[in-house]
């Protein structure tokens, strides 16, 4: 029997690491990986709550599962579009470093 | 209590369980130990099987090509693979300059591991399986992804253009072919109403290959492509890419890839046997689970022989033909068949079993005829465009159309 708080702390840790990657890395794909990590942390949370809520209710609850499935769909869609954007930007500016994409600064 | 000669593995499992409990091991740790022992035994058996497979394949391919095959070491050359393994043990490990060490060394291990992980969920008999996983089919497909990862690691880590090209090509092929493979694997899921491999096996009073021969054919083709065997062996086409992603590997590391290739080939025949050939089902398999194991091995052995036959008789596809076959033939056909079979089965489910079988067979035959017609009309179109003297060429399309120069005679 694992306490719920263990899952929540693991999820918080992964979320913070992902947040740091998003805020601090310069490489666009690294930022994307940070976002993936954050989405995974959210999914751990959702499934942990689903697990314990089902155990409290005594019947498997379906809405938590649906939420988690939606997160998977979102992650897949988001990655596809983001990578297309990155490759398109690389083709035009020959860089994937977000600090160097300063076209709007003039 | 099971009797030993009826079901030896369950007998041994119960014996081990009682032994551990009598030593005072806590119940959950006993479970962990039991699973670990089971995994080690299963993996060892699988790897020993590869040795036999190597011999069989070389011997048969030799016969097909009018050679003798291995015949020096041991009776009928039976010990030849062991000699090869010993030789490969003594070879030098070379790490190319500029190689990325961790991926380079991890890739062969991961490649074998991905092939072995599939064995965890196969129901070997009515009572023997590793993990009775609820989502068995999804697991099979997911573990394939680990194999792709291994190939990318090998291609990247080698720091070699040919390796990288080979890896990209392989992964493109694997990703593409997993689409029709998944779609046709959904047909047994639909018939049995479960993702559970044991339930799928138990649901096959009539083997699913009888109910759905064309999806079975698509699944077989796609799985041959998944394991990268001839005629889909472009990933390691010696004449085009040197040896693809395994070009920089030597000694035992190359041996790992080699073993993984053969292991995967047998594994997909195992999966095919479970999904379409009734798994361990057969006369007497319920009461004597040992027989179920024998049946399963015989069935997958037959599928494996079929794959050797493919390898010995079909020429290699070009990369564009590989992609053509997948996206223009197999995927649409699998999609359409999935929908049609779902509808037909919904209406035929209430009727007599014989009517259901015949109805589904008719639909499959119809689908096959339509496919044949479409393919041959495309073939005629192509041949009108290219003006050249007709000469007998062995072409991969000849499998489906009837004449040996392509198209209809």
């Amino acid at each position: 029997m694992i306490p719920l708080s263990w899952y929540l702390i693991l999820s918080a840790t992964l979320f913070s690491i992902g947040l740091f990657a998003v805020l601090a890395r310069r490489h666009a794909i690294a930022i994307l990986m940070g976002i993936e990590l954050m989405l995974n942390a959210v999914n751990i949370n959702l499934l942990a709550f689903w697990h314990y809520w089902s155990q409290i209710k005594g019947v498997p609850q379906v809405s938590g599962m649906v939420f988690a499935a939606m997160i998977f769909v979102l992650a897949a869609a988001e990655t596809a579009v983001a990578l297309a954007l990155i490759i398109s930007a690389y083709r035009r500016h020959h860089t994937v470093v977000v600090d160097e994409m300063t076209l709007l600064k003039g | 209590m099971a009797v030993f000669w009826q079901d030896p593995i369950t007998f041994l499992r119960l014996w081990l369980e009682n032994l551990l409990l009598s030593w005072g091991v806590p119940a959950d740790w006993a479970l962990v130990i039991r699973f670990a022992v089971g995994a080690v035994l299963l993996v060892t058996a699988a790897l020993l099987l590869v040795i036999l497979q190597l011999w069989l394949e070389r011997k048969l391919i030799g016969r097909i090509q009018d050679r003798l095959g291995p015949n020096r070491v041991g009776p009928w050359g039976l010990l030849q693979p062991i000699a090869d393994v010993l030789k490969i043990f003594t070879k030098e490990h070379i790490t190319p300059a500029g190689a990325d060490r961790i991926p380079f060394n991890l890739a062969p291990v991961l490649s074998v591991a991905a092939a072995l992980m599939v064995w965890a969920v196969i129901p070997f008999s009515a009572t023997v399986f590793g993990a009775d996983l609820n989502v068995g089919i999804l697991y099979l497909l997911a573990v394939g992804a680990l194999g792709e990862l291994a190939i990318i690691l090998a291609g990247w880590g080698s720091n070699n253009k040919y390796a990288l090209l080979g890896a990209l090509r392989t992964v493109a092929q694997l990703i593409s072919y997993s689409v029709p493979m998944t779609l046709s694997a959904l047909v047994p899921v639909m018939f049995s109403g479960s993702l559970h491999l044991s339930v799928i096996t138990r649901a096959q009073e009539v083997w699913f290959i009888v109910l759905a021969p064309v999806p079975a054919l698509i699944f077989l083709t796609a799985s041959v492509a998944e394991v990268g065997r001839a005629p889909f062996d472009l990933p390691e086409a010696e004449s085009e890419l040197v040896a693809g992603y395994s070009v920089e590997y030597s000694g035992l590391k190359f041996g790992f890839f080699y073993v993984a290739e053969f292991l995967k080939a047998f594994t997909v025949s195992l999966i095919f046997a479970v999904l379409f050939l009734g798994g361990w089902r057969g006369p007497g398999a319920e009461s004597y689970p040992v027989l179920g194991f024998v049946y399963l091995m015989l069935k997958s052995g037959i599928v494996y022989l079929l794959m050797i036959l493919f390898r010995g008789t079909l020429p290699r596809f070009r990369i564009d033909q590989v992609m053509d076959l997948n996206w223009k033939v197999l995927t649409p056909l699998a999609l359409i068949l999935l929908m049609v079979i779902a509808l037909a089965d919904y209406f035929l489910r209430g009727t007599l079993p014989l009517v259901r079988i015949l109805g589904l067979l008719c639909i499959n035959g119809l689908a096959y005829l339509v496919l044949d017609r479409v393919l041959s009309s495309r073939e005629r179109l192509r041949r009108r465009l290219v003006a050249q003297p007709v000469r007998p060429v062995a072409r991969p399309e000849n499998l489906i159309t009837s004449s040996d120069v392509g198209g209809r005679s």
């Binding site: 929540l8 947040l19 310069r26 993936e36 379906v62 869609a77 579009v81 490759i87 994937v96 | 609820n134």
Partner: protein
């Protein structure tokens, strides 16, 4: 401690250290490999939650497709990745923000005890994916979100193809 708790602790340790290595590694390819380890760890965590369906889907979707296209993108954009510092000037601020978020969340979770709610072991019925499948196509349940998700996937597919498509007379 039970075997399950040990499994969880070891997995959590591996996952978190893989995530840290992912952020810290200079070569993008290594970062992607560390991400693979972290994703595998999360899959094992799902197994400890008795959500075997999601563990397998995690392997299939994250490792099988997302990670592989990330690796493809890394290979395609390889020329610009090796030079320059890997963190931007704001890194200390970012570390501060992430640290504060982590500390606050962990503080809340440690303080917040699950007191006294009786839990029932559900056993095998937990794993069943049939209710999920039925709920996703049930008009009373989640049919609309399901359809919206499929439209989203289609839009993402078309959008990605459109964006990445190389038009004539553009780029190099």
């Amino acid at each position: 401690m039970s075997a399950l708790q040990w499994v969880f602790l070891v997995t959590a340790l591996i996952t978190v250290s893989a995530a840290v290595m992912m952020v810290a590694s200079r070569r993008m390819m290594h970062a992607a490999l560390w991400l693979a380890v972290a994703l595998l760890g999360v899959a094992v965590v799902f197994v400890t939650l008795e959500a075997s369906f999601f563990a397998v889907v995690q392997l299939l979707v994250y490792i099988g497709s997302i990670l592989i296209i990330i690796v493809f993108a890394i290979m395609l954009t390889q020329r610009s990745t090796e030079a320059g510092p890997r963190l931007n000037p704001f890194a200390w601020g970012a570390a501060g923000v992430a640290g504060v978020v982590w500390a606050a969340l962990t503080y809340i979770f440690i303080r917040w005890l699950m007191s006294g709610t009786p839990l029932q072991e559900l056993g095998a019925s937990f794993d069943d994916v049939v209710p999920l499948g039925k709920a996703l196509v049930d008009a009373e349940g989640f049919a609309v979100p399901f359809e919206v998700a499929s439209v989203l996937l289609l839009a993402a597919l078309i959008g990605a193809v459109y964006i990445a498509f190389e038009r004539r007379g553009e780029g190099s």
